[in-house]
Structures are given as structure tokens and as C-alpha cells.
Symmetry: D2
Subunit: 299 residues, 4 copies
């Protein structure tokens, strides 16, 4: 099929490569011309603006947007909307909040434009080699674009999830699970690291990746990481987060669902961003007040 | 090789089948004669007592014990010890506490008997088709029995872990991670289940098993479970536990390691064993005391 | 001083009694005429509508609103606004979200009306006998109404907290702490209740209320509760919540603050609302899949 | 009454001062002669050895031991036992594990010596001015020593708790609650500290100490702390712990009681002891592996 790609960062670039490998025609745009040139070398049609992108495609157009959620996405959508025709198809493949996807679907529906919110998993490697896609939007229209997903996903790696928002909702929960699984694995290695035993962590991750109950892609990935830095001595344990874990906890609160593991995963990430904490100061001060326990001076 | 197997429950039976398939000679014993007959039909040498088992094997003997940790294991070891010769090899493949393994190794060393603590993962399917084995004990002696593990493990699915206790310690931590991963997955589905969307959970588990960051054997297993009971309506959410998760948390406490996710996984299991809680009554009573909030009467 | 009170529920009623005892003139309104009659018997000026309330007071009027946060509050404010004059003073003493207070302050400022968000603690007893008040709004105007708080608060029991929203923000965090303290106390009694010892819980709460590090009003309240029902056998452990705990966790997420204890207090409340859980079903199903562990059938 | 005190640290010293003020005769011993001199100046009978202490008292002797739990306590008990007579009374007022108290009671019972495990709360101030005491041991013998507790406890501040071990068990759970309450308060101030508002924390603690639902001694203590250092800038948030919180969590695990708040309080303390964490490194490494997210280099 022929489609446009807006946004050629790590994920967008690799999706284009994936699409090209499967003989799709891709008109590619990015604010950064070098990013456009890089995919053009591999066969993508370079375009220099959203206007040109729209002009390059024939109705009904298919445009996949792969830009940061929030302001960047809104800006692209706002520019595109007046340029598009009814029955054109817009795909948001980024990490948008599902409520934003519901709003965008409603907004574009006023112009007769079909919107799909596509949660994308599998990392940057998956984007190129075959990823996992969770797709919300109109079911009948989905059947038109389904061949794209058949090609770029791994086998059984895409799912039509239902109404608009359901794709990004499912991706959000996926990431919540991911936070919990990562923290579980990380706590396990922390216990090993504080233990009396001197395990080779690469070997541990390797044996756990083969035949064990906890075998998983994340375990294979940490094996790779240990193969490069056996004790991760070069890495500081600062755990950033990009939003979906927080959204999952917020959603759990809204739905009155207990999600202690996902929440604790997130709080440990927040804790890791700080060298010292105010709550720690309060507890230390209290212990000093009632028990005369010495406090450490701040540096 | 020729070895003895003591304990022919779900795991022991399947290990014998795995060993026989790889052309090992297995003398098999269980307190239950029917369990012995079942493996004898597939080629195991049936023995009727631990004495007969020892008599059937030639020194240096290899005896794999696959009975419940604790009293059952201790009983088998106590009976076996005087029957064995120096340089015989005893393997504990059950879910023993690693401190118990350290003690057993010391105890058997007094008689010159070599002890291995083997943590076994992969479930009952893995025991038969190829599992994951974490093996603590003397390294030189390990090389003698290594061919067994080469056969019964999946590729790269066994690891010599070091001193006695290190095998069961690693298995314990593996199970701690398992608790956390399971709870993370479970919380994700709980959020889905309380959401406005109506996902087919089998399809969700399937798409997450293919190409996603959270692909894992556990995700494949829950796909199987949903294929049999799409909303798990027939299952009550009572989460039993068999010890290793608790030991992991206890070990984290000993080592002053933060393990919030593993601990919360365990506490949610304990919570699930109760229909009502005393802590809930206390909070409800307090809300009534200060705010006049109504309480529900107990049934 | 002379002021109006809108909303004569448990809290509003008791605040009026408190004000009357301190010789303030209170014009009292509630949608329920009986609630108005009850305070009129004690000397309040009964009014039958918001219009009459405004007519009864002289500019600059002081009107304290004690109705449920959200729609009820918004409705009262919307009706009152066109009736009021510049320099009139509106107090929201309910459990409003602080962001709503910021909005209301801005909205009323357009009409020159001063708004105060007053977080109220101390329970229904405190409302009548002397409570705790956290007051956000314009500082100069606050000095006008300060005598009210000097009378109705316990000694040192009120605080001017700063800009609009700061009163309800502080009350929100107060409630978050309250959730954590209540759950901590409750977990302690749960451990006692599962222990080998047979403590008299009223005595325990009593001794802990006298001289211990954990002495607190909550401990005194649970002593009262145990005096009425020694094992709380008549109470079901269903823990409702009214919003502020959830808001505190949401705010912690926004601010990237670690708040594991407050969050877990809330999640245990949510858990208590359910007889069975979907996450429990998932974990039970997984244990069955890999280990053949039996599941309990749902009832 | 006449009694002996062994151990004149912060707690023991203050208990002696408390006893002397109530006209008890106290023979006081400490390994440090200066500690003995200090209390002798206030009227205690100085003794230079455990032998002299025993000789100074008449049977049935009452000896209160206030030394660190574990080895120090065991050493004092071992030295004292052969010196004592049947019906002498030994009190352990330290923070011993309740299981140790059960053992000591059994051990001393063989010599006919009565043992009491006394959990002491109220901090160093309470030890002198009136504390809170939880007392396990033989009930009939307790009535003999009860007058001591009537004097040194605040009103209603002592409780006979039952069999040996029940005093320290109750104190252990008290401390578990204390951990949870402290962390709850601390998290609240952390949220304030990260908020857009600029509260005076001393004023906040003061208003919360007067009339609020969360009024408590801990809140008064943090008010004192803020009065000395308004933002606790001089204190590092390192949260040490002395054992009872950990024991409470271990006991919860044994009893299959859910104690998420107490457990998380403890884990945040452990976390605060580290500048960086291995679990953080693992999560950061994983994010880099699958998403190409940058890691921070360790310093």
C-alpha cells in the first residue's frame, strides 16, 4: 500500500524501514531534512512539508504519525486536518493518552476523517524487525489498513481492539505491566547482589531465559546488558519514566482497582530521581526527637 | 547414566520420563507403589524401598530426591545416609530453603557424600520436556553429573551456581521475581476488566505474547487459561503460595534490600485468603468514630 | 460576627452550634427545612432560600458553605454569585479539590467577591467542640474573618495557609496522612489478631494512648470503638473513601513524589470493596497452568 | 520498693531518675563507672559489679535490665543467673525479640527465677517523665511489682499483657505502627515540599497538632524539629532502623497477615541507606536495551 509517515525519530525511522522491506510505498516527512534523506536512501519518497505529503498521496490517504504525544501530535493534526479529505485515514502510533485519542477521533470525525490509535510495542528493534500493534478505531475501515499490520507485525502481533482509545488504553496497561515486570526482575537481581553468593549475572539471566517460568524478552535483554557490563558498574540507577506507568496508576485510581505492584514500581522510579528526600529528613528528625538517635548532616 | 529417583509426584514423574527419553537408566522409588508402576511401564527400574534403591545402584551412586521440602526431605536423607558410601551423590531437586541446603551439605559431607541443591523451574511441563536447573555444590563433582543436566534441560537451561545453597537461593529469588511478574500481569488485566472497554482477554494475551516488550512464558500461559475460560468466571481469586516468595521477602529484609514489588505481590496473596480482614474492621470503625461514616454489618 | 451558613448536615449543623455558643449571629439555610428548624431552636436565624440568606446579611456579607464538594457546591456558588456584592466573602468549608478552589477564587474575583477555601478537620465532634481549620485566600481579608476561627477552633487550631487552594491542598495532604496512619494502626491490630497472644484490644489501645510514641487521637478513637465491640465482630471490614486520599496519591504522581504508604492505604481500601478480584483469578489461573496447582471454583 | 538497674544508657539513666523521684531505692550498675556516678549523685546506690548488685538487694530481688537486646542482654542474664535465688525477679526492659523473651523466661524458670519482658515506649523523655510499659510474665508475680509501674508510667500507661513474650510482642507491633505513622507523616510533608505552595512547616505541624484527626505526639515532635530547622536542611534523610519494624514484617509474613504499609515504611528506610541501587541499574539498563533510552553514567 501507499502511505505517509510523519516523524522519523528512532521509532518512525525503523517503521519506515520495516514498511519498505515489505514493499509498501512510503512518503516520509520529518522537520529534520536529514532524517528524511536517511529513509529516502532506502527507497522512501522524501517530502518537505505536510502539504507536500498530502499532495503526494491519493485519497483515501493513509498517514501514520509517529511524533511525541501531546503538543507535537496536536500540532501535526491541526496542520493536517484542513488539508485532508473525508475518508482519509490518520494513525497515531505514538504514546498518547487514550483520552486524547478519544478526543482526536471525535475531532477528526467532524471532517469525515478516520482516526486510529495504535499502541506500538517491541522497542526500536521491533519497529524495524516486527513489532506488536494494538489498534483502536472503526472496524470496517481497519480492514482496509490491516494488510499494513500483517506485514510490519510479527506473527499474531497485531490486534484490532475496538473503539477509538482502546488501542492506546491497552498499550498504557501493557506499559504498566512492563513497569511491574522490570521492577520484579530488578529486585531479584538486587537481592542476588546483596547476597553472600557471587553469581555471574549474565549466566543467571541466560539460565532464567531458557526453560524457566520467568523466561521473557526482558530477561533476554538484561542478559545482553550484563554481557556488556557484568555488574552494571557504568550505569547509574536513575529510572526515568515516560508517562504510561503513571497513567496506568491514575487509571487504576479512577477505576478503584488495586494496583500495588505497578504503583510501587513507579514510586521506586520517582525515588531514584532524588539524591536525598524530604520524607527521609522527616523520619530522621522524628527518630532524633523521641529517641535521641543521631542524624546525619546533609552534605 | 544410571541414577535413582526418590519421589514420583508431578515433578518427579515427569523428570523420570525426561531422563528415560534421553536413555538414562532410572531406578525409581515412591511411597506409593502405583507411582512406581507408572514409570516402570515406561522403562524405569522399579524399587520398593530406599534400601533396594541403594542396592540397585553401584557406587558412586547418584540419587535425585524430589519430595516436599522440610520433613519429607529430612526423613529421606536420614534414612539414606547410613546406606550410602563416601563419594555417592545426593541431589535435592525440591523447593528447599537454601539455608537447609547448606546444612544438608555440611551434614552429608561428614560421611563423604556429595550434595547438590538443584533449583528446578519450568513447571511440570518443563520437567518432562526440558526444564531449567540451578545447581549448587562441589564444582569438580558437578562435572560428573553434568551430562544429566545437558539432557534434561532445554538448551542453555542449566547453570552451575557455586557453593551449596546457591542453587536453591537462586531458585528462591527466581520465584520472588515470578510472584512480582504474575502480580504485574494480573493487575494489568484487572485494570482492563474494570475499564470501559470490552477486550477479548485471550486475544490480548496473544498479541502481548507476540512482539511486545512484555512477551513471556507467563503471558502465553494466561492466554491458554483465557482460551479455556474467557473471563475466568469459574475460578476464585484465591492466591496460594508455597514458600519461596515469602523466603525472598525474608531474605530481602535480612539483606536490607528494598523489594516492594515482591513484598506487595505476597501481601496481596495473603489478602486473597481472607473474606474479611481485621485491619478493614479497624479502619471502618475509625471512620465511624470520627466522621460518623456508616459501617457495614458483618454477615 | 454575623454570618450565613449554607448546608446543615452533620458538619454544618455542628459548626452552627459552635458559632452560636461563641455568640456569633448565624443565618442558616439548608434545602431541608427540618435541618433549619433544628438550628433555629438554638438561636440561629432561619432562612428559607439563598436569596433570603443574602437579604438577611449586610454587606460585606460572610457566607460559609458546607455542602458536598463538586456539583452541590458549584450549584450554590452559581446561585449566590449574582446575589452578592463586591467585597462579600464566601467560604468553602467542604472537602473540595484544591484545583476547584483555585478556579472558584478566580471566578468569584471577577465579581469582586473574596473566596476562602477552608479545610476542616477534627470530625463531627471537632466541628462542634473546636476543630482544626486550614484557610487559603487573601491575607488582608482573612484578618477580617479571623475572629470567627479564633472562636470555633481549638487553641492554635487554625492557620492562614496562603493563596487560594492552599487551604484545601493542606487538608488533602492531611487526609492522605490520615489514611496512612489509620492503615498502620489497623495493620498492627491485624498482626495482634493473628498472633498466638490473646490481647484485650481496648486495653491495648488504652495503654498505647498513654505515654507511648504512637499516642494519637486515632488511637483514642479505636479505644472507644473496642469498648463498644471488643473484637469488632459486628463490623465488616469494608473501607470506603471520600476522595482526598485518592487526590493525595494523584498529586504525588503529578509531583513525582514517592508516597508508597499513602498509596497502599488507598489500594487496601479499594481491595476491601471486593469479595473477589480479577487479579486473583489471573494469578490462580497462572499457578494452575505452570504448576498444576488446584484452583478454587468461584461460588 | 527497692530494685536494681543494670544498664545506665539514655533509657536506663532516665528510668532511674524516674524511680528515684518516686522514692524507690535503686541500686544502679553499668560497665561505665561514670554512668553509675551520675545517678549516684541523685541518690541511687552505686554498685561496681553484678555480684555487688545482687549482694545489695534482699531476696526476693527485683532487677531491671536495660541493655541492648541480644548478646549484651544474654551476657548479663548468664552472669546473674547463678547469683540469684528462686523467686527473684528479672525484668528485661530493652527492645528484645519476643521469641528471645519466651526462651529467657523458660531458661530462668528452671532456677525458679521470674522473668518479665517489658516493652517500653515514650522515648527518652517518657523514661524520665512517665512512659508506657507493656508487661508480659506471671500475673500473680506481676502484682508484686505493679507499684513500680504505677509510679513510673503515665496515668493508664502500663498494661499486663499476658504470658512471657507478650510484652515485647506488643512493643514490637507498636513499633511497626510507629514506622507506618512516621512514614505517612513524612510522605505528607514530602508532597507539601514538592507542591506549588510555600507552607511554614512548623505552623503546619502546629495546626495539625491541635484539633485535627491526625493530632499525635509524633506531630508535636516534628513541630519541635521544624522549630529548630524550618526545612530540615541540616539533616540528611538517612533513615536507620533498630529491628522492631523488621520483626513486625517478619511476623506478619509468618502469620500470613497483610502489612503493606509497615513493610513499605521499612523498605523506604532501607532504600534511604543507599546512594544508588542495583535494582535501579537493572531498570535503567533494560530501558536502554529495548527503547534506546539514555542511561546516566555512574559517578
Amino acid at each position: 500500500m501507499k502511505l505517509g509517515m510523519v516523524g522519523l525519530g528512532k521509532m518512525g525511522h525503523n517503521l519506515v524501514m520495516n514498511l519498505l522491506r515489505h514493499n509498501h510505498e512510503v512518503a516520509a516527512y520529518d522537520m529534520n531534512p536529514e532524517a528524511v534523506s536517511r529513509v529516502a536512501e532506502h527507497g522512501a519518497i522524501p517530502v518537505a512539508s505536510l502539504e507536500q505529503l498530502v499532495a503526494t498521496l491519493e485519497p483515501p490517504r493513509i498517514i501514520w504519525i509517529m511524533v511525541p504525544a501531546g503538543a507535537a501530535l496536536q500540532s501535526v493534526i491541526s496542520t493536517l486536518t484542513p488539508l485532508l479529505d473525508a475518508n482519509d485515514i490518520v494513525i497515531d502510533g505514538g504514546n498518547s493518552h487514550y483520552k486524547n485519542s478519544v478526543e482526536l477521533a471525535d475531532q477528526l470525525a467532524k471532517s469525515g476523517i478516520h482516526f486510529f490509535d495504535v499502541g506500538t510495542s517491541g522497542g526500536i528493534e521491533g519497529a524495524e524487525q516486527g513489532g506488536c500493534f494494538m489498534i483502536g478505531g472503526d472496524e470496517a475501515v481497519f480492514r482496509i489498513i490491516e494488510p499494513i499490520f500483517q506485514d510490519i507485525a510479527v506473527k499474531n502481533g497485531y490486534m484490532y481492539t475496538g473503539n477509538p482509545g482502546s488501542g492506546h488504553f491497552l498499550k498504557m496497561v501493557h506499559n504498566g505491566i512492563e513497569y511491574g515486570m522490570m521492577q520484579a526482575i530488578a529486585e531479584g537481581f538486587e537481592v542476588l547482589d546483596k547476597s553472600q553468593y557471587d553469581y555471574n549475572y549474565e549466566d543467571v539471566a541466560k539460565v532464567w531465559s531458557n526453560g524457566s517460568v520467568i523466561r521473557s524478552w526482558l530477561m533476554e535483554l538484561i542478559q545482553d546488558a550484563f554481557s556488556k557490563d557484568p555488574k552494571l558498574e557504568g550505569i547509574r540507577g536513575v529510572m526515568q519514566s515516560s508517562g504510561e506507568g503513571k497513567w496506568t496508576v491514575e487509571t487504576a485510581l479512577e477505576l478503584q482497582a488495586s494496583a500495588p505492584v505497578i504503583a510501587m514500581s513507579l514510586f521506586m522510579r520517582y525515588r531514584s530521581l532524588e539524591d536525598d528526600t524530604f520524607h527521609g529528613k522527616v523520619v530522621a528528625a522524628l527518630r532524633n526527637e523521641f529517641g535521641g538517635h543521631a542524624v546525619e548532616s546533609s552534605k
